[in-house]
Amino acid sequence: MAKTVVKIENLVKRYKELIALDHFNLEIKEGEILGLLGPNGSGKTTTINCLLSLLSFDKGTIEIFGEKMTPSNYKIKKQIGIIMQNVAVFNELTVYENIDYFCGLYITDKSLRKKYVQEAIEFTGLQDFIKFHPKKLSGGLLRRLNIACGIAHKPKLIILDEPTVAVDPQSRNKILEGIADLNRNGATIIYTSHYMEEVEQLCTRIAIMDKGKNLAIGTKDELKKMIKNTETVTIEVLDLENSIISKINNLPHVYEVNYNDSKLRVYCSGGKHNLVRILDVLTQNNVPFGRVFSELPTLNDVFLEITGKELRDKED
């Protein structure tokens, strides 16, 4: 049984009227990459700031590495690396100096620090930019610097708060690969995001949160099993009578049917030959149809079912 690294119990955080965290629970085991998935304003950053003892909270307990987390628990703090949502670097210092500065807050031994800083630079691929000032870096490079500053001291627990916002897909992949590497080297990782694909690709376990609550947690397969939906069939149909729609609706395993924009969407729960059965109905009634898709549930479906809303806008 792996050791518990983080244990958050019944965490409540209020900002005046607003309840940002509502009896939030979370347990993270050593070696995990835990994805904290939730829409804007769901309380991801708040959770992390409470975890770090940067924010005071109204109720609940937080343990890290089996000890109560407090602002002066330097033993725990030494082992945490944080990559904040907002880039936090000194504009007046170069890339190298920034990494050295933040690493120096953790590592006092000079030669060891030099080695670590060098490794962080290589890890984030910033070799060609060490003399640059942050203002001269592109958005993606700046994010990478932000990451380098957070992980140079080789922490055992790494927390990344939406590190890929405003980063192009190529840099984003680099960052994701890097995080997987850190995990392979033994770090436990907390990763917050509102991009499902990222979380799905990277995380070993995913917690879905909304309105300050932890609604579901598990591997992506476990999460997908939690919901009713097992298959969504989409068929392009130009014209469709209501009687046929209700025929489809009455098929076994079908629990919802939508028809708009010349697209027929059929949501199924369990069963094996759903697609064939639906197409049979259409053919028997001489309804011509175009392209046909059958999709397994995505995290978005999971999110949709659990919270009743899409994780994010389509154009996002």
Partner: protein
Amino acid sequence: MFFHNFKYSLKNAFRQKEFLFWILAFPIILGTFFYVAFNSMYEKESVFNEIPIAIVENTENTAFKEVIKELSTGKAPMFDSKFTNSKAALEMLKSNDISGIIYVDSELSLTVSKDGIKQTIIKSFLDQYQIRESIITETVNNNPQNLQSVIDAMSQEINCNENLSLSHGNMNTYIQYFYNLIAMAAFFGSVNGLYIAINNQGNLSAIAARKCISPTNKLTSITASLLASFAAQLICVSIGITYILFTLKVDMGNKIPMIYLSGAVGSLTGVTMGFFIGSFGRLNQNVKMAISMSVTMLSCFLSGLMIGTIKVFIERYLPIVNRINPAALISDLFYCLNIYDDYKRYTVKCVTLLILSVIFAIGGFLQTRRKKYASL
């Protein structure tokens, strides 16, 4: 840890463009400007004679008469004064025979026909007289033998304000401008102090939040940053002083080490005050910058660094402000250096400034030391 923070705070300070401008470039540029502007004026009025004035007495004022008499006689008299009526006085003013007319009514008032050093001196004399009026009246009535020393003190203050070493025949009116410049530059260290607060208080910036969650002792890292800012400030102000003293060759008297010391004390007050102001409230960085700049400017303004007579005005109506306004105290340091041969008054001002600095530093630290915030 201390040294690490010190080193990077120092680097940070020297790369801050606003900082370098206000503390290094500004005094040098303005100093050069003063030097060029005043040197030409200085030549025109370089020979100092007593200033011709007319006094129109509409009301009998024995004390004032005594003082004028004293200042118009002796080895190096300040004034060449004539008591006359209003009409004759105006005639003389028109034909430039006198530099100004003092009317003695229930209040004293001055009429001049143009602006110049002589006019400024008369004005300054009147200001000083009005500040001390009650003491002078009292002295004339009860201890006339002490009048001379009261007048001496007063004319020294005038010399100092207008920077005329009358007694030594050295007519360098404008040194005060350079003193003010140094005082101002030192005091602008507040900009740098402000960044210490912003970079260490978790709810003020992302950098500060990041520092807060690192395993570092806040007192150590803040002390290191304060000292680094002070050092940066000191270096810049010293460069400014050196430039004024040795490149422009402005004669600031023979207490040169003390001038540097005053710069140092002023810098310390500036840095700690900025830190103190910065540590209060949760405002946007630029707003804080603006507030800190305004407080600094206001403080300079009230101390007469911009318009000399403001200080006199405050001395008259709200003297306490001059006792605790840091900018006034810093400029006083220089006045004292210039006027008094003993260091008693200088030491008092110096100690006051040091106490203020300690209060600022501790106050700022108490605000900043917190590690957990209700809101970020």
